[in-house]
């Protein structure tokens, strides 16, 4: 079986597994599938992939949609071979909270800590909400990867 067939079969099986949770499905480029979900469907969607052995969680990306936008996005990237599935969850900045997926995938702990400190997203139930990268004396409520955070100019 050639690689392209394997990739399309992988993506098709992911599509079927995720169908109950899918709000919108996009195929932005060959080998990739992008699925938007409601926050409440995140855990069932991750479980559908993980418990059926579909690939592995490769990274979690936080996105600020813009200074004038009210929302943040969290992208969970899963890969099986060359096939990539991204689960996309949108949360309002005013109430940025998502459930933890560590009960299923403990390796997500680092990614969830990063979301918390860099984007101010509360990951409900994450086993360790401590800072991972930012210094201990970093001011509370300042989230550097949000678009409204402007890097201060260094004088001179």
């Amino acid at each position: 079986m050639d690689r392209e067939t394997t990739i399309s079969q992988s993506l098709e099986s992911a599509r079927i597994l995720l169908a109950p949770c899918t709000q919108q499905l996009l195929t932005p480029e060959p080998g990739r599938m992008d699925i938007s979900l409601a926050t409440a469907d995140l855990l069932p969607a991750v479980a559908a992939l993980h418990l059926n052995g579909w690939g592995r969680l490769v990274a979690v990306t936080g996105l600020d949609l813009g200074v004038n936008e009210g929302d943040l996005e969290v992208l969970y990237h899963f890969c099986a071979g060359a096939a990539i599935v991204t689960l996309r969850v949108r949360v309002p900045k005013a109430d940025a909270a998502i459930p933890t997926i560590c009960s299923l995938i403990p390796a997500a702990s680092f990614y969830e800590r990063e979301l918390g400190e860099m984007f101010g997203i509360t990951v409900v139930g994450t086993p360790n909400p401590d800072r991972l990268f930012l210094p201990d004396d970093w001011p509370a409520g300042v989230y550097p990867l949000r678009k409204d955070f402007v890097v201060p100019e260094i004088p001179g």
Binding site: A59, D64, H77, A107, S109, N128, D130, R131, L145, V151
Partner: protein, 398 residues
């Protein structure tokens, strides 16, 4: 990874500056006597805000910034970024450029694995192996310098291709170097599998089963030493890996020894693929022109860095600067395995267990000979230092 908050346990904090690692990281080991029962990790001591910094720099400027994420696997970061940006811009990079990129990637892997071999041997107290492997590593460092002009941040890539070419003279030098290294690597494989004192520090230590490796998301040689069949070069070939493939190196033992064997054997794969590339280097252009602005889009770029899968997420917004770049390095995946590996082992095994995952160390130190006037007191040659040392002690004896 639970928080360490049991008040009745004895917690030994190690780091951020500590004897085991040359780069800062803070570990808290919960111990029961000599035996470690748990561990937590605090990173970020060298956090430089690079992801944020990319958002205020142009696509071209970011190439140079991102090459500096790591001082060991610099080229692979630049390559992952270039592949992503080129996909966003819809560029088709000439085959010769992709092959040269792959050549540098594999030379870099050799330098990285040999660096690791030395560091890991040093953690085991086997400094002879450390010094020999680092001496031999100079061969590949010289090749990289000869090829690109730089030892660490090679800067071989540009968006749209490469800025270096390989001529017949360089091919000869590279092949000679690779032959020498291959001979040495056979010796190292022999040492790490048969030296009884060394094997006592590695065999059966920090055993990670395939299931545990998958559970904690280990990547790269750390995962492959536990029998996880995962290598992005094979799973999702990029650059010229379709034409110049590598074979996966696996071990099922899952202990520290297996991590040594896998990394050393991966060197043979790199030698093989370098010879193949130099033998059949495609002719043609080295680069295509890259547009300044990229329309709104997003992509994912995955490559196999020396430490495992490196992941880039790139989002463009129509300007000459990216909207967002997310980098997930292999070390963060492998760090997650340390608490699980540490439990049940002696505290004295911790440096080796940490080194076993090959956490990303910086290295760019070297001896430089600069030709300056003899009266320049700021530059000392080795001979001047030696003479100074001799006369200093003579003075002292009087």
């Amino acid at each position: 990874m639970q928080k360490n908050d049991q008040a009745d346990k004895f917690i030994i904090p190690i780091g951020p500056q500590h004897p085991a690692l040359k780069e800062p990281g803070h570990f808290e080991f919960t111990v029961d006597g000599e035996i470690v029962t748990g561990a937590t990790i605090r990173l970020g001591y060298v956090h430089r805000g690079i992801e944020k910094a990319t958002e205020s720099r142009t696509w071209v400027q970011n190439l140079y910034l991102l090459e500096r994420v790591c001082g060991i696997c610099s080229h692979i970061h630049a390559t992952a970024y270039c592949l992503g940006v080129e996909r966003l811009a819809g560029l088709s990079v000439p085959p010769r450029a992709q092959a040269i990129r792959e050549l540098v990637v594999e030379l870099e892997r050799i330098h990285s694995h040999m660096l690791w071999l030395g560091v890991a041997a040093h953690e085991a107290g086997f400094d002879t192996l450390f010094m020999y492997s680092w001496r031999d590593r100079e061969t590949v460092m010289d090749i990289l310098e000869g090829l690109t002009g730089n030892r660490v941040h090679y800067s071989a890539n540009i968006l749209g291709g490469v800025k270096i070419d390989v001529d017949a003279e360089q091919t000869k030098t590279i092949l000679q170097g690779v032959d020498f290294l291959e001979k040495r690597t056979h010796h190292y494989l022999d040492v790490v599998t048969t030296d009884s004192a060394f094997v006592q520090r590695t065999a059966g230590i920090a055993v990670m089963s395939k299931a545990v490796a998958e559970h904690f998301g280990a990547v790269g040689p750390t995962a492959r030493a536990s029998g996880v069949t995962q290598d992005i070069r094979i799973d999702a070939p990029y650059l010229a890996y379709e034409d110049f493939p590598v074979e996966i190196v696996l071990d099922t033992a899952g202990d520290l020894k297996a991590r040594f064997v896998v990394r050393v054997q991966e060197l043979f794969q790199s030698y093989q693929v370098i010879r193949a590339i130099l033998d059949k280097l495609p002719a043609g252009e080295l680069a295509v022109t890259m547009p300044r602005r990229i329309k709104e889009n997003e992509t994912i770029s995955r490559v196999e860095a020396p430490r495992g899968e490196l992941f880039y997420y790139l989002k463009s917004n129509g300007t000459d600067k990216p909207e967002r770049i997310k980098i997930r390095t292999p070390s963060i995946c492998n760090f997650g395995t340390v608490p699980a590996l540490a439990a049940g082992h002696q505290l004295a095994d911790m440096p080796m267990i940490l080194a076993g995952i090959d956490p990303c160390f910086s290295c760019n130190d070297r001896m430089v000979t600069i030709h300056r006037p003899a009266d320049d007191s700021q530059t000392w040659t080795w001979e001047m230092l030696r003479q100074y040392g001799i006369s200093y002690y003579r003075e002292k004896e009087r």
